[in-house]
Each structure stands twice: as C-alpha cells, then as structure tokens.
Amino acid sequence: MKSLFLLPFVLPLALITAPLLAQPVPPPTTAPPAEEGGLSGSVSDENDWQDLGIAITDFATDADVATGTNAGSTAQLGRGLSRIIAANLRNNGLFRSAGPDGQPQPLFGEVQAPSYGLWQGRSAEMLVQGSVRASGGGQLTVGCYLFDIALKQQLAGASWTVAPGDWRRAAHKCSDLVYSRLSGENPFFDSRIAYIAETGPKSRRIKRLAVMDSDGANHRFLTTGQAMALTPRYSPDYKSILYLSYLNGNPRIYVYDLASNSQRLVAQTGNPTFAPRWSPDGRWVLYSMAIAGNTDIYRIPAQGGASLRLTNAPGINIGGSFSPDGSKVVFESDRSGSQQLYVMNADGSDQRRISFFGGRAATPEWSPRGDQIAFTHIAGNFRIAVMSPGGGNLRYLTDSWQDEAPSWAPNGRIIQFFRTERGSGKASLWQVDLTGRNERRLPTPVDASDPAWGPIRP
C-alpha cells in the first residue's frame, strides 16, 4: 500500500507526525437566516477574519519533472495545488482569496522569503506560497507557507510528503493550516463525505452509495444501484461506512468495508433496521429496529455482539447522535404525538424531551464541539436549524422548501444537508456556516442526498 508521511517542519505548529494511509485512487468515474421572535441566539460575527484578503501564488518547483499524479509535471502540480487552496478558502465564504492567476509568481528560492515590497499596496493582507519537489520513490514533497504582508513575517509553515494519488490532500492540509492559523478554529478541509447519488424518475429513483473529498474531488460510486442505498455514515477511522440497503428486498443496515469492498449485516434480525450511527470512538453502533410497527433504538458493539435496547416507548424512536464525549445521545421520538428531540444517557437512562417549540423536530446531530445540536425543523417546509443541547437558542440556518438531514463539518463550524426541489423531487447537497450567511451548493456528478461528513482524516 502506498503511504503518506507528514514531516514535522519549521515553526510553532502542532504538526501531526503519524504516517497516513493512502486512499486508493478512484476509478474515473441563499436565504438569510430568519430570526424567530424571542428565540434568537447569539451569532458569532465572523467578519473580522472573513474580510481578510489572501493572495495565493503558484507553488514553485525546483525542477519541472514528470509525476505519477493525474495533474501533470511538478510545475503543473504546483498550479493545481494553489488553485485547490484558493477555491477552498473562497468557496467556503471564509476569506477573500485571490490567485494564483494574475499574481506575481515567486521563484523556487523565494517561496520562503517573499519580496514583501511587491505585495504591499496590493489588496491582500496575507500571502500563501508553496513548493513542490519530486521525492524518492515517486513521492512528492509539498511545502506550504503563510505570511503576514504588513508584518513581513511568516505566520505558519509545514511540509508533507505524499503519494501521487494523494496529491490533493497536500492542498487540503495547506488550506487547513491557513484556515486554522487565521481563524483559531480547528481544521476541516482534509476530510471526506459519504452520500447517496440519485438518478432516474421520481417514482423509481436509483440510489447509490458514493464517496468524495470535502471539495467533491476523488469521487467514487460504491454500489451499483441494484439495491436502494440510503443514510450512510463514515466510520471515524474512514475504514468503513454504515448504511441502509434494500439488498434482498428488505431494509437492513450494513457495515461496508472500504478496503475489501465487502459488507456485513450489523445486526442479525428478521426485522427491518434503519438509521445507523457510529459512536465518536467507533466502538459502538446505534441502530433503530421496527418490531410489530413499533421502532426503538438499540446499541451494539461495532465488532458484533449483543444488542442493548435503549428506548422502550410506544411509537417511533429513531436515529440518535452521540455527544462528542460519548456519554449522551440525542434522538428523535414521536411518543408525545409528533416528532420531537430527546436526550438520554448512552445506556438509555434519563430520557427527556428538549425541543419545545412549534412544529416537529427531526434528524438531530450533535456538534463535534458539543455546544449545539443541528436538526431538521418541520413546519410545512423543512429547515435546517441549531439549538443548544439544553433546548434553548433555536436558530434557523436555511429557508427553503425542504432542507433535510444536517451533517457537521469536523470542526463544528459548517453544516451540510440535502435540499429537495418541490415537484421534481430532485435533491442536491448544500452547506451553510453557522452564521447562516454563507450557503452554497456542493458539486456532485448527479443528484445527491444524505450527506455524511467524516472527521479529519487520520
């Protein structure tokens, strides 16, 4: 297996030194948030750093040689890397990024020593430069450096040695370095998304399990569409995916192993199972099972074993999302007569309702930071909303006909969801930040639903 190493490098950065496993190269294949009277919470204003102008130059190379990547020679790779970084920072509404086109381009020797005079008076306050070198064994070493132009000072820097198939990861690592240093937030770009790809007529949509990088690249279909696939969840270590499949005609949840492209049933049962979820440490799986029309939530060890029933209330108890420390679960139940949100301990004890506002509340997802719960609020239309785990501070992030099933970015600052179009039923992936201001559609090859954003890649 190809491997990828992160080399600790320069400066006061928290650099990861563990070797990374390479992913196989895949085959080719706005509405402003409405504030509700009396319920609006505090919205952190991110203007300070969102207005920062960042110039990005072509990553320079010491010698323009062929690479084993799909991006061309090292010089072409340098341009590709800087374009990915510029798009990452711009597309997420994070910064005003400029370049690499139309910028002065540094020589290899100037990458870590920019001509500050050249940059003063231009619109950018920050400068990102980088380098690409061919290393032994076909590997590539990518350097990434962030400079404050006014201070004439390097703020951050790192380099990574990557296998050819992983070259885009270096650009995501660099984007994360810049984002984290300037925002003070945890990284999120070096992550992947599992989702459901949809094609065909509304009456008989074909739904396939698919995966891609956080920017839509390295896309791969995992199932053929013969059996309908729904509701995937990446495991925390990215080795497997939980999802629902109608293989053999009945809805059951499976765990799909990405190394072997094989799958197994999570729970051996004659009953339908839905809504699979991982615990944050990957040791447990939550699933929901219907018996005689009643649905309850169960917990089972991820490696198999005995199931523990967590809910025992008449009605539909379904879904569930662990708090980051694994001690609590937020879930959905209609035991009160309509879908509402409840919190319980991870062993099922102390179940109490937390949603007390009009309408119905569904698909809760606990933020990786622990401070908020994202969910689908239903009052005719579906809207993505967040609330505090205690039940207060309801805030809408979107306003459309049907926005469903939020999934958090690894750093808890951005939420992905799927939007369904009235009439046609066509669905697409979207993301919105916690201010509700920066909303955008994610590029997918075909229609898409059920996004499941994985953590930062190990």
């Binding site: 339908p272 809504a275 219907a290 539909i316 959905e332 879908q339 049907q402």
Partner: protein
C-alpha cells in the same frame, strides 16, 4: 335488466362511491372488448397476482391520513376484500408495502411506512389470514405513486399496498 339486478347494481355503485372519498382508487384493468366467453378464456390465471389485482379492483391499496397509521372503516372494507381472496388461495403469500408522502423526513418515514404496512398486516390476520403468509416492507417516501407536490398526490402516496407473490 331485471329490477332485481338493477337494485344490486345500484347498491354496488353506492358502496363503491362511499370508498371514493379519501383517495382516488385505481380503475380495474380494462376488460377489453371481447365477448363474455372470450374474457373468461383470456382472464388472469386464478390465484395469480393478476387475478388478485382484478379481484381487488383497486382495493389492494389502503390509504392513511397525514402521520397516521390507523385502519378506518374504508380501509377495513378493502382489507376484507383482500382477505376474501387470500382465504380462497391459502397457499399464496403476500407482501404489504408501506409508503409515506414526501412531507416527512427520510428515516422517520421508513419507520412510519413500516407501521402502516404492519397495521394492514395485523388487520388481515385478524380476519383469519395466517400471519405467517404475510410479510411487510417499508419504502418510506422513496417510491411515490403520485408524483406531484400537492395535497392530492400526498393523499395517494400515504398507502399500504398488498402484493401477492406469484
């Protein structure tokens, strides 16, 4: 037509129209233009799914109110018709498919569709159909019968459909 037959026909049409209030029923298959003798020869094989569909005349499906799964009197009449056929062919197995309209979230609707299918299944069993002959499967909101995003379409999609296994 004799007076007696006319009275029967009127009673039958009254019963049918009483069923039409909640959701439109599918028309039975066009019997074609042949003579009675031809129709008998070309009719579906007795005991087949086609025979069940022709017998049920749209009563193979029961409809539900928003977010509900209870069997009302109209549903009970349809299920009685289904049970009549199923009792006639005791070797036949059937699957009840539960569905929802598009106004619920995906996972909840999978559970709600299962609940609806199970309600129909339980009712058929209460009429004497051996429960071991019946299975249920939920498609949630993934397989709509009517494609609009309007009240009329949603009413047609909140359903449980009985399909016999050939």
């Amino acid at each position: 037509m004799s007076k007696r037959n006319l009275a029967l026909l009127l009673a039958l049409s009254a019963a049918l129209s009483a069923c039409a209030s909640k959701a439109p029923k599918q028309l039975p298959p066009d019997p074609g233009a042949g003579t009675a003798a031809d129709s008998a020869q070309q009719g579906p094989i007795p005991g087949s799914q086609a025979d069940f569909a022709a017998f049920a005349r749209g009563q193979d499906t029961v409809y539900f109110d928003t977010d509900r799964y209870n069997i009302d009197s109209e549903d009970a009449a349809a299920l009685a018709t289904q049970a009549q056929w199923l009792m006639r062919y005791p070797a036949k197995r059937a699957t009840i498919e539960g569905h929802c309209d598009e106004r619920g979230t995906r996972e909840y609707n999978l559970a709600l569709g299962e609940r609806r299918a199970n309600a129909a299944k339980t009712y058929l069993a209460s009429l004497g159909v051996d429960a071991s002959r019946l299975t249920s499967v939920s498609y949630g909101k993934e397989r709509p019968a009517a494609l609009g995003s309007d009240e009329a379409s949603w009413a047609k999609n909140r359903r449980a459909v009985t399909v016999t296994i050939d």
